[in-house]
Structure formats: structure tokens, C-alpha cells
């Protein structure tokens, strides 16, 4: 496994960092949570952050923590779907398609919520699940899986996730369309 410094990866995939932090900020504002500080991008670890008020409301906390995961995943799939065919299947050299594929993978690579976000969510999820919160019940496995995957970033799990979404997503979409 080769080592590339985090700031270099962040710089190469900066659109994903900015969109991830925008997702946090968007949901904080939507749920009227106080925001103490925001950094959309920097050459450091973490590459971006949103420091916000901690809430006991599971739904708000879930959206603030997981919102960027779904937003980044969706954007990754959309950009990669637009570029997947010329790059991988049709083998057409279209520079625009390659640019969109990079953009899609960059965004998908930064989909994972940070360990801090997941820790906050993980603290309250089991209690809320026991209280019958459907969102907590349904997403506990996802939260757990993302928690583990976050640690696997050291072996490029985030890049793997971006590529998987950017390849398997479009394949699934086109196969479904072909059968429709």
C-alpha cells in the first residue's frame, strides 16, 4: 500500500471536501442549530470542519451527521453516471467526461461522515432505537458500518467507496434501464 499525504489527497479532491462541509452547514441551518465555526477547506487534518451545537434530537443530529453522506453519494452517482459510459464502456475519448468522472469520484470520496459526527450519533442512537425511533432502528447498522469504514480510510476505503459508487451505481442504473 503506497502512502500519499492526506493534504495532497484533499487538494486533489477538494470539491468533495467543500460539498461535505456545505452539507453539514446546510442541515445545521435548516434545523436552527448554532454554528461556532466553519472551515470549508484547508491543508490540514481535518481538511474541513463545521463545529456546531450538539443536540439531543436524534433526527436533527442524524441529518447533520449523515446529510453530507447522502448528498455526496448522490452527486457522485450523478456525475459519474454522466461520465461512466464514455470512460469505461464506450471508450470514447471525451475530456469533459474524464473531468466529470474526476469530479464525481472526488465528491464520492468525501461522503463518509467524520468519526466525530458518527461518535455523536452513535452515543444516542441505541437509546433512541430502544425508544422506538424508526430512523435510529433503521440506520444503526449503517452508522456502525460507516464507523468501521472510517477507520479503513487508512487503506483507501474512502476512495474505494467513491469508485464503487461511481462504477456500480451507473452500471445498476443502465442495466435497470435496459430491462425497462
Amino acid at each position: 500500500m503506497f502512502f500519499i499525504p492526506g493534504p495532497v489527497i484533499a487538494a486533489l479532491t477538494f470539491p468533495g471536501v467543500i460539498i461535505h462541509e456545505f452539507g453539514h452547514l446546510f442541515f445545521c441551518k435548516l434545523f436552527k442549530l448554532k454554528v461556532y465555526d466553519v472551515c470549508f477547506f484547508r491543508f490540514g487534518n481535518p481538511a474541513g470542519y463545521v463545529i456546531h451545537e450538539v443536540t439531543e434530537d436524534f433526527t436533527k443530529s442524524w441529518f447533520v451527521s449523515m446529510g453530507p453522506f447522502f448528498a455526496n453519494t448522490t452527486l457522485c452517482m450523478l456525475f459519474c453516471t454522466a461520465a461512466f459510459l464514455p470512460v469505461w464502456v464506450l471508450r470514447v475519448f471525451d475530456p469533459l467526461a474524464y473531468f466529470f468522472y474526476w469530479l464525481g469520484i472526488s465528491i464520492g470520496m468525501h461522503a463518509f461522515p467524520s468519526t466525530g459526527d458518527l461518535t455523536n450519533l452513535w452515543k444516542i442512537a441505541p437509546t433512541r432505537a430502544r425508544q422506538g425511533n424508526l430512523l435510529a432502528i433503521l440506520t444503526i447498522p449503517l452508522i456502525g458500518m460507516l464507523y468501521v469504514l472510517n477507520f479503513a480510510r487508512i487503506v483507501w476505503a474512502d476512495l474505494g467507496y467513491g469508485i464503487a459508487v461511481g462504477m456500480l451505481g451507473p452500471v445498476a442504473i443502465f442495466r435497470a434501464l435496459a430491462r425497462a
Binding site: K34, L75, A83, L85, V89, L90, L103
Partner: protein, 354 residues
Amino acid sequence: MRQDVCSECGVSGTGSRYLLKDRVYCEPCVGKASREAMEKGESPHYIPLSQSRVCARCGASNELIDFTTLRGQGLCPACRQQLQNWPYPNWLKIGLAGVLLLLAVALVNGRKYFHAGRSLYIGERLVDEAHFEQALPYLQESLRIAPESDKAVLLTAKAALKVGRVDIANNAIQGHEGGHFEDPGEDFQEVKALWDRANKAFEKADKAAKLEDQDGHAAEAAKLMHEAATEYPESKGLAISADMFDEGTAFEDKDYDKFVSIAQKQWSSYPDSGTAAVLSSAFACKYAITEDPNYKKQSEDMLKEAERRGGQTPDDKKSFEEYAERIRYRLSSREIISKTEYNRRFRSAQAKSQ
């Protein structure tokens, strides 16, 4: 010096004052208020009033304004407003608008690829279901956008070869770097096997065609053509040619009933200018030996039909005219002669006089 009034006991003074949940308390009252807040499940934290007059975020200090607190920290009104409604920076708004614009461009730019991709996947599914004939137009459509795609080329070639369209397979393969494939995987091997089989069959068909042009070799030519058709049964053209060569054998053997029978079968299976002309020729033979005017009429009718259906290319038209001339001679002279003999008698003389 500013005097602050305890919100609990109403005593005013300049002594120690504290702030709890944005209310000012004197020292004796703040402890009680803190305990009550804790019992209610609220934050019991309080801070000296003097500290609340220094903004924890921007460091601004103002004795005259009561700063509000947030998590025990004094905040000036501007900072509090910022924290409660953090603004989106302008560059971020522009950037996000740019991302949405790029997404729109990506989707518009990808439209032709979606079309080609959809055609490819539909074609692939039809090939998997062995519906090669239906798959071919979809695969050709995908090739129009992506002639370099291994998948599109190999699927098109496979579907084309499975329905005997060697010309389409050849165009698809030649359009892909002149037939070069970097990864000769399973699909490539399958197409190569089909291609080799088809080529071998067409080589035999070429030999058969050359033999047929020579008088007295019709039976041998028909045998070779049947071998070619058996080797590559996917080609309707070879099967038709094999039958046509049988017509040649029947003609050479002077078995004109068989000639008519095969020509009729050909005409009913593949009604076109060529089969109509051959049937006209067969009826002309029958007329020549029986003198039955019905055969003459049938021959003339079929010749008109062949002319009406006409070939598409100049070569087809030329070929038809050459054949029609010999049929008309047969009908007028009631003499059955081979093409070679006809050429010797009439065309070589024409060529010499010219």
C-alpha cells in the same frame, strides 16, 4: 459605574453579579437559581457578569451592552447573530451554482452516451437471449457513437456473424483499430471462432463461384457451395447460393423440371429480382423443349417481375440485363445454350466489331 439589579431579589449594586440563562443574579441568589435549573434539567452554569461583557468569539468588550451567553460564554450581538444564522459565503454560493451548472452540462453532454449505452445494454440483453437479429440495430446504433468500444464491437460482430451478416461484422471489427484488440478475452475468442468459421465457408463459396463460371463444373461447384452452407449455416446467402447452384446442376444435367422446381422454391422463399429472373430462365427452358406457350407466358411474366423489382446498384442492373438478354434469346430461338456459348457466339463478335 453601572449598577445591576438581581432578577431574583431585586437588590441593586455594584458588587458581584452573575449571569445565568441571560438573567442577572446577586451572589446569594445565583446558587439557588443554578440548583433549580439543574433540577429542571437545564444548564446550571453561570458566569461572572463582567466576563459576559467580553465577547468570547471576537474579544469585543462593552460595559454598556449586556452580552448574551451561549454555553457559558459571553457573545456580542453580532457574533450571536452569526452563530445562530451562519451565512453562506458568496464564493460558496457561486461555487455551488457552478456545481449545479456542471451537473447540467454533464447530463447534456452525456445524453448521446446514454443513448449509445442504452442501445448497447439492450443489444447485450438480446444477444444473451439469442435474439441476434433484433440485437443488431441496437448494437449498430451504439457503434455509431463508440466505434472503439471493445464491448460494442465484439457484441455487434457476434450478433452479425450469428445471422450471417459477415459484412456488418467486418465493418465493426475493421472500425476498431483495424481489428486490433488489446484484451483478447473470452468474448474475443468466441467472435474469432465464428469469424474463422465464416471466412472458411466464404473461401469455399468463392471457389464454388469460380467453378460455376466454367462449363461442366456445375455439380462440383454445387457440392462445394453446399459444404460452405453447411459449415456456416447462419448465412442465408450461402444457403440460397447452394440452392441456386443446384439450379445450375439441374440446368447442366438438362433436368429442367428440377430446375423449375428449385427456382419456384427459391422464388417463394426469397422473392426478389434475382430469384424471379432464375424462375423466368427455368420456364424459358421448359418452353424451349415443350413449345408450350404457357411456359413462355410464365417466363415473360417472371422476367417483367424481375425487372419491376430491379436491382439497387448499377452492377445489379447490369447483371440483370445480361441475364435477361439470354432468357429473351432462349424464348425467341427455343435454343438452350450456356452463358459461355452465348458469349462466344454473340458477345465476343460484338466485342471484336467494336
